[in-house]
């Protein structure tokens, strides 16, 4: 039996490091490393735990530039069986509809996927829309914002999990095949192993799919398949701050200084 699990991972610029050129209004890419979107690694870890427990396989997939291969290699070196790099210029500029569209087709092409896992949201666009979008396109049930995986019942083919809404926690059951989006920090992603790293380099372990191979009409993907259009971008100037920083190795003096500031602000 086993579970065939597909995991969507996005290769994102590390937002902590992103800087902007205020004159040219462009992103300064030099020196900015990219990383796998953090909750996506939690999704990979969950997939590996489920496979180790119930058998089956884990396929990671990423739509992105050729450099996104590094993210897939990381997931394979953690233990994923296979990676799919969905990469080609026609996919560029995709919004969440176009992204969901492509990932849903990839899952169909993988055949017999039981569980499609995604991160709760990305650090670069932070929408959390892709998982629910894929769920609609595949007609599969969805458990979003999952905070605890409880059980998989192979006989009834249902999974049980907890998920968190703004006002509380829901216990949900879903029939397979299903989509789940995983909260950041629900587990600790395992480190890559040397054996895994070697495997990731083997030919065939990471496949590259382009839009022709996937049978897409170019009008339906990338920028052209995206109903939303970014009309303008502004750089947000952070509100000016005093930036008065003192050394606090003498706590009494620091406290006195803080009290002065609190007085000036009118709060004491």
């Amino acid at each position: 039996m086993g579970l065939h699990i597909a995991v969507g991972i996005k290769w994102v610029p590390n937002t902590e490091q992103v800087r902007f050129d205020p004159v040219r209004k462009t992103m300064i890419r030099e020196g900015v490393e990219s990383i796998v979107n953090p909750p996506d690694l939690n999704a990979v870890e969950l997939a590996l735990q489920l496979r180790d427990r119930y058998g089956g396989s884990v396929t990671v997939m990423s739509m992105g530039p050729p450099s996104a291969k590094a993210g897939l290699e990381l997931a394979v070196s953690m233990g994923a069986d296979k990676g799919i790099l969905i990469s080609d210029r026609a996919f560029a500029g995709a919004d969440t509809l176009a992204t969901s569209y492509v990932l849903a087709r990839a899952i169909e092409m993988l055949e017999d996927v039981d569980l499609a896992l995604f991160g709760e949201e990305t650090i670069d666009s932070s929408t959390g829309h892709v998982g629910p979008g894929v769920s609609v396109l595949l007609g599969w049930p969805q458990i979003a914002y999952m905070t605890r995986f409880i059980s998989y019942d192979p006989r009834r083919r249902v999974v049980r999990a907890e998920r968190r809404l703004d006002e509380g926690v829901e216990l949900v059951e879903a029939e397979l095949p299903a989509v789940m989006t995983v909260s950041v920090g629900i587990n600790i992603p395992r480190p890559p192993t040397l054996r895994g790293k070697l495997r990731a380099r083997k030919p065939g372990v990471i496949e590259v799919w382009d839009h022709r191979y996937m049978g897409f009409n170019p009008e339906c993907i990338g920028l052209r398949g995206s109903p939303t259009i970014v009309k303008e971008i502004e750089i947000i100037e952070p509100p000016p701050r005093q930036g008065e920083i003192i050394d606090g190795s003498d706590p009494e003096r620091a406290a006195e200084w803080l009290v002065e500031k609190l007085r000036a602000l009118g709060v004491v």
Binding site: G133, I235, P238, A255
Partner: protein
Amino acid sequence: MVCPEWPEIKLEEWRDVWVYIEQRGGVIKEASLQILGKARELADKLGEELAGVLIGHGVSRIAMEPIYYGADKVYVLDHESYATYNPELYSYLMVELAKMYKPSIFLLAGTRAGREMSSRIAVALRTGVTADCTDFDIDPETGELIQSRPAFGGKLFAHIKTPTRRPQMATARPNIFEVPPRDETRTGEIVRVFIEPIKTKTRVLEFRPERTEGEQPIEKARIIVSGGRGLRGPDNFKMLWELAELLGGTVGASRAAVDAGWMPRSRQVGQTGKTVRPYLYIAVGISGAVQHIAGMKDSKYVIAINKDRNAPIFKVADYGVVGDLFKVVPALIKRLKELKGGGAG
């Protein structure tokens, strides 16, 4: 050219502004009411109607509420089979409703439920959706909705449009817009709709509401003392509560502190928590990751206490102390108590 796999639509057939009125147990979410004020402005600019969409069991009782807050009309889907919130069912109902009445703009609150449904509805209708907007406007030339939202952890502000598809969909970040005044003299139309429910492949077995212990919610506080991983454990938050009380404020937390179970989720500040804009924000043992800063950077004043001089929180601080919080905070509490007790010092 548009994707031939999308259903064809005629833009001019889509009119009116809709707001999904999220409720649980017959209580309307404040985040939904907040959108009504802004949506009223948009509808007025377009010369179109503003409608609320209310789904649940027994919600007829509260059907007039959206009208009191500015709507012209409310679509009420009240049936026992809609009693439990289920994104699969609720988004299906809204997709069918949108196909019937064709709204031009459809807004939802940027709660988790609002976000997951907005994507389901948009994808089913093959239209766009912008998450977490903090401003909306109407392009005076084209009448298109301008959806504005922060991106890249709050470093950019993007203005987004959905020119060729309808409805133009977005979620609005909670606590950005103000709830408009409630006016019981307003009148409007109630449209009752029944849509045959689908059999869902998900079942909600249980819902456990999160306790919000009678304390002041952080969204409304004028002063917030927030703690992070630097606090090392739940017991040390007592110190922050004490400090907050002396200042007349309340306590918030970083996600790291919430994930560790030291503080309830309802007090998390940041991108996946609450956006707060207090008069004073005091960050204690918080490094200042972009996701945290996204939720507090519009505070009027920021004070940071952290032992690491290079912590990014200092970049957004007006006043900072580089030092051990376990020494500085107690010293500060002591000094404040002396001031309170001893009168003029």
